[in-house]
């Protein structure tokens, strides 16, 4: 008989790296992610000095500027705890690109690699690491589409975790949309450097999502959500996308963190 596989210790503490978009534009998503983590019994530490992973400058051709900003985050996670990020593409930036960004400096590179190894995207953390039991969640029937950010899907495998979380939620029917894995047209500065192309991509994505007849769609990336929801608001249609953490908090009937535990 083979020995029982020892269960991985479930962490008690986690860091929360909110990302600049969540901090300034989508604080609800951050609060909801923290609420879910606390509901799971974790203590969440939000390092006060955090700002941004550096991705916007990095992808636009200003890696030096990105490096300075990333450098300012390196000292913020001294404990060996997981670093939960409610945005797959930012998690991907830290996980894949920080080690490269700091490759020229052995000391910084070591720290960047340490952080990179602890970074985990929120959904992946909830279903993969925590294995949070979602069976008791609200089972009111709802049809939901899933949009995965491209870099997150490729770098952090968020299609798997996104589908897993929706599949584990009772009452939730996943509505597959046409060209599901195609980009929503955000792409950071791409959306303003090539506005017509970006708009065409966002338009097609939303048409495909709307065609499923879903009542909402979820994503683990606030960049995509800003793009899609801003487009929907201009269209004047009621459909909106939600951060997966907000959807999850609601289905789990957890009170918002602001109302206390």
């Amino acid at each position: 008989m083979s020995p029982p596989v020892p269960a991985l210790p479930t962490p008690r503490d986690v860091y929360f790296f909110a990302t600049c978009v969540v901090d300034m534009f989508e604080p609800e998503a951050g609060l909801d992610a923290i609420a879910v983590l606390e509901h799971a019994g974790l203590r969440v530490t939000f390092p006060e000095a955090q700002t941004c992973c550096g991705q916007p400058a990095y992808t636009t051709g200003f890696p030096e500027e990105a490096l300075r900003v990333a450098r300012a985050q390196l000292d913020l996670f001294p404990e060996p705890w997981p670093i939960v990020v409610p945005s797959g593409s930012c998690a991907g930036m830290i996980h894949h690109h920080w080690p490269r960004l700091f490759a020229h400096d052995a000391e910084l590179s070591k720290r960047a690699r340490d952080i990179a190894s602890r970074v985990v995207e929120f959904t992946d953390f909830v279903v993969g690491t925590l294995g949070l039991d979602l069976a008791d969640a609200d089972d009111a029937p709802v049809k939901v589409a899933l949009h995965t950010s491209c870099s997150a899907r490729r770098e952090m495998d968020t299609l798997r975790s996104g589908r897993a979380v929706l599949a584990a939620l009772p009452g939730v029917e996943l509505a597959h949309h046409d060209h599901e894995s195609e980009c929503c047209g955000f792409g950071g500065t791409f959306s303003v450097k090539h506005p017509e192309i970006s708009a065409a991509m966002a338009g097609d994505k939303l048409d495909a999502i709307a065609a499923t007849g879903c009542s909402t769609f979820v994503s683990a990336d606030c960049g995509c959500l800003l793009n899609l929801n801003s487009t929907l608001a201009k269209r004047g249609t009621p459909l909106r996308g939600r951060h997966v953490a907000s959807f999850l908090r609601e289905r789990l009937r957890i009170a918002s963190v602001e109302h206390g535990p």
Binding site: T60, P63, F190, I197
Partner: protein, 492 residues
């Protein structure tokens, strides 16, 4: 295709794209064509692990070849010379065209038949030859249609993918004597083939491109479906092949994996109808084949990509076109919008070396970096990384880290306003005190932000910060009770 033709200049990319994106008929037709190609490819690579293994092999074959490029080119030239093939080196388009002209004049040739060759497009062979009274006829059906219509290829594998069958019917009826108007596709192909047969029989020179050059055997490998490549390289007395210097590979056994990666990625075919392995001109006692054979090896900026380690992977390309077929930007703007010989993701990474980074500066930014191209590339070119490096080089006048020399047109997209904006961004985001002040102010003044934000608000509502930032809201929350057995600090 709509009445307005995209301008053949990469600086016109944004204008071209705007027109195409606004045309629903074109959009539907591109989408349909790309879906067809991506589905066919997907059917050829049913299992991801298998694809990844084959791709790793293809990648290493190409990397090995590039790592040994000078030696392999030397070996290739020797082997070809032994087989009686004349090898020529062309530094740029002008050199290459001069070589063509010299050979044509020596043979007093007024007609050339040409199999599909993107490198010949790159040097604008047809136009240059026409200036000297030499008719260079395209024999690939797609290219032939375009030539009749004075149009340009919009895809490296399916050059006329932007033409409908109605377009072709009109073009043939107008330009081929005796051809009536028909929209029957088989009939149209038959008309085109008949018109081309005569040309093969009378041309003194046949021109072709090359898919792979094998250094150890001195073989010129040509992959095709229509048979026009075989005819162009065997019927006329003289065969001239032209290709870029990066096409060389070390061994004959390297052809098989690259061939299968190419055909499956390009057209979703397990094999093509023809695979030509050309090993020199007609020998004593042989009854057919060209009497004279030439290979023109073109640099035209490739050595710049070769010189710079961080751009070298660009040259791994085997021109399968899969990156275009999967690109959401290409699918919306079409190939002609790019205004370059090579459109789509491969065009965006190679054109800056072939032309210069200044005139091609809008191509590397024309990507959301979604990564679809890199995911399907059969030789593992990290296209999104290369796009980012080109963006960087276009925004810095001096060679950046890990760059040996400035690229042609380095700094071609550098604008003081953008540089200043990122410097300001760095100042704020690298300093948490300033950052907190700025977010505090931005959230307070959210209503004062402009309702029109260039580039963003055309189809979206304006971006406005939330009334309070996450960190403020966390700071205001009721403190969570701290478990007695622990003193470490909980959230906020």
């Amino acid at each position: 295709m709509s009445a307005v033709r995209p301008v053949a200049d990469p600086l016109a990319f944004k204008d071209n794209a705007r027109i195409v994106v606004a045309d629903p008929v074109l959009r539907r037709s591109f989408r349909g064509a790309m879906d067809f190609l991506t589905d066919k490819r997907a059917a050829q690579f049913p299992d991801v692990a298998g694809f990844n293994r084959l791709r790793a092999l293809g990648e290493s074959i190409r990397q090995y070849a590039l790592a040994n490029l000078p030696q392999l080119l030397g070996q290739l030239e020797e082997r070809l010379a032994e087989r009686g093939v004349h090898v020529h080196w062309a530094e740029n388009a002008e050199d290459a065209n001069r070589l063509f002209l010299e050979i044509a004049q020596r043979h007093d040739a007024k007609l050339m038949v040409k199999g599909k060759s993107m490198v010949s497009e790159e040097i604008e062979l047809n136009h240059r030859m026409a200036e000297h009274g030499i008719d260079c006829v395209e024999t690939d059906m797609g290219e032939y249609i375009l030539q009749l219509d004075h149009d340009r290829p919009s895809h490296i594998i399916m050059p006329a993918i932007h033409k409908t069958k109605e377009d072709v019917a009109r073009i043939f009826a107008e330009h081929i004597p005796g051809a009536g108007y028909t929209e029957d596709v088989n009939e149209l192909i038959a008309i085109g083939r008949r018109a081309l047969r005569d040309k093969f029989a009378t041309a003194k020179i046949g021109v072709s491109g090359v898919n792979f050059l094998v250094a150890e055997t001195g073989s010129i490998v040509l992959v095709e479906n229509e048979g026009n490549g075989r005819l162009s390289t065997t019927v006329p007395d003289v065969h001239i092949a032209i290709t870029g210097i990066e096409k060389v590979i070390a061994k004959l056994e390297h052809v098989a994996p690259l061939f299968t990666l190419l055909t499956r990625s390009a057209t979703g075919q397990a094999v093509t109808t023809y695979l030509n392995v050309i090993s020199g001109p007609r020998r004593e006692g042989e009854k057919d084949g060209p009497r004279e054979q030439h290979l023109i090896l073109l640099d035209n900026g490739r050595t710049q990509a070769y010189r710079e380690e961080r751009f070298r992977a660009t040259l791994q390309c085997i021109r399968c076109g899969a990156c275009m077929n999967h690109c959401p930007v290409y699918a919306r703007v079409g190939g002609l919008s790019y205004g370059t010989t090579y459109p789509g993701p491969i065009g965006a990474i190679i054109s800056p070396h072939l032309m210069n980074l200044e005139s091609t500066r809008d191509l590397p930014t024309a990507s959301s970096l979604c990564g679809a191209c890199g995911e399907v590339c059969p030789v593992g070119i990290p296209i999104p990384d290369l796009l980012m490096r080109l963006r960087e080089a276009a925004r810095h006048d001096e060679p950046v880290a890990q760059q040996r020399k400035a690229l042609k047109g380095q700094g071609g997209a550098r604008r003081m306003l953008e540089v200043a904006a990122w410097k300001g961004w760095r100042l704020v985001y690298a300093n948490s005190r300033i950052y907190r002040l700025v977010t505090w102010l931005a959230t307070r003044c959210r209503r004062l932000l402009p309702g029109r934000q260039a580039g963003w608000t055309g189809t979206r509502v304006a971006l406005r910060p939330a009334p309070r930032s996450l960190r403020e809201r966390l700071a205001q929350r009721r403190p969570t009770p701290i478990p007695m057995d622990d003193t470490s600090k909980p959230a906020a």
